[in-house]
Amino acid sequence: MYSDGITDLAFLQMCNLPIRVICRANAEYMSPSGKVPFIHVGNQVVSELGPIVQFVKAKGHSLSDGLDEVQKAEMKAYMELVNNMLLTAELYLQWCDDVTVEEITHPRYGSPYPWPLNRILSYQKQWEVRRKMKAIGWAGKTLEQVLEDVDQCCQALSQRLGTQPYFFNKQPTELDALVFGHLFTILTTQLITDELSEKVKNYSNLTAFCRRIEQQYFEGHDKDSCTVSVQSSKKSSLLK
């Protein structure tokens, strides 16, 4: 699942920045923090959503300027909620659910490499993720408990969104990009069971939200992406 890639893509699209998406197998190693996705602007490389948002803001583009202090606080809190629940649930499903790990994750993660490297790297990543899960107390959770957490999170997002087009009414913000990234990934990624996507589908305003953003910002773009490279062709003010 590459929810982070879609999030960043959505965010950059919302900022109206011209971008080109490139898929690279060694993306994790190219990234300065070891995490994907990352953007490559001129000779600068920035990874992860937080720093990307800061970077883009420093160049004069921001989605959350129109919010007041209370709304900004709420936006940050909801972003944390999504990271805490949805991202961790995705990681759990990918790396801690034995069936999914064997049939989907190992083959997919190791696909660019020859045997035995593919298995070694894959197991290494799995060990890393499981250690982290243990640290945050998720290692002891069952799949049912994880799905319940996802449901709780979706319920909160659905209640917050209500009937508005975006989380903070008329304009999209980083939160919209983040939520879209995760929900879209959950809804479109093929897994062993449909339970995860069913949880999201229970909330009709969330699926409508995803569809709306997809139509508005992603018509005709390639969605499977690992890295994003920002082009300087259109006199964009990014390179200062």
Binding site: V70, E74, K76, E80, Q152, Q159, R160, G162
Partner: protein, 293 residues
């Protein structure tokens, strides 16, 4: 104890950590489910017992609660743990001392250290070695995010009495429980604390909750010895307890040594003539010495 206070549930402040699920504090002892230690589980348990502080919240407010809880637990809590338990100066001069004084003998000898190790391990797993080894990076990024979290809480609270109006909810209990120790503790290394003190509405918030729900803690419960009412009496009162503990630990040590001596045969009580029998313990000792060499 604050969620208990909040929901009007039955409870009293109990400083005794026995028995503990593997050394976890705080812990709630229940009749049916044994001892629970995670705050969220404690709140769920109270709800099942029909003590609910969130009954009057709207759907959006409940959603906001979940979001702010995530923010607190992700951005603030790890840094708080670092401030109290991992930062060398704070841990040695404040945290360890306070726990050692509060926890009854003999747990106070090893429980604080065990908690310190556990917290350190957890942070290492969460943050990776990069942050644990690079103080500057830790300060720049993680402490900055914690300070930002405090500012966000302050902005969200505004000039209200509680986060959702005039009556407290579970979010207030959680925020208070995280902020109050930071506000009241006398930390030698207090950068995060200073930032909190600069947010006036949060300070007032903590103080008012303290006076509303913890009126028996007249003195600062989190700084001096909790048994004493004032700081003057505390030192005089502490001495006999300290002496008694020292005496007890010496006696326990002596008893252990004597017991070992008897059991391993280094020392034995002989009855009868001193001559040949008396030689036995001596030979045993020599044998022991030879073995050791």
């Amino acid at each position: 104890p604050s969620p208990l206070q909040r929901s009007g549930g039955p409870g009293h402040s109990d400083c005794s950590p026995l028995p503990l699920p593997a050394g976890h504090l705080p812990a709630l002892r229940t009749q049916d489910e044994g001892t629970i230690s995670k705050p969220q589980q404690i709140i769920t348990h109270l709800r099942k017992q029909k003590y609910n502080a969130d009954y009057d919240l709207s759907a959006t407010q409940s959603a906001d609660t979940l979001a702010f809880v995530s923010l607190l637990e992700e951005k603030l809590l790890p840094v708080l743990i670092h401030t109290f338990w991992v930062d060398a100066k704070n841990y040695v001069e404040h945290t360890r001392k306070w726990y050692a004084e509060t926890i009854p003998f003999p747990l106070n000898f090893f429980l604080p250290n065990a908690m310190h190790k556990r917290h350190l391990e957890r942070l290492q797993l969460m943050w990776g070695d990069d942050y644990m080894e690079d103080e500057e990076k830790l300060e720049k990024e993680l402490y900055r995010e914690a300070r930002e979290c405090l500012t966000l809480l302050s902005q969200r609270l505004g000039s209200q009495k509680f986060f959702f109006g005039d009556s407290p909810a579970s979010l207030d209990a959680l925020v208070f429980s995280r902020l109050a120790p930071l506000l009241k503790a006398k930390l030698p290394n207090g950068k995060l604390q200073q930032h909190l003190k600069s947010l006036q509405n949060l300070c007032n918030y903590c103080t008012s909750i303290l006076s509303l729900y913890f009126p028996w803690d007249r003195g600062d419960p989190l700084t001096g010895a909790p048994r004493a009412a004032g700081t003057d009496g505390s030192e005089a009162e502490e001495d006999p307890h300290k002496r008694r503990k020292q005496l007890l630990s010496v006696l326990v040590g002596l008893a252990a040594m004597l017991g070992y001596a008897f059991l391993s045969g280094i020392v034995s009580i002989q009855r009868g003539s001193v001559g040949p029998a008396g030689r036995q313990p001596v030979t045993l000792e020599e044998e022991e010495e030879e073995e050791e060499e």
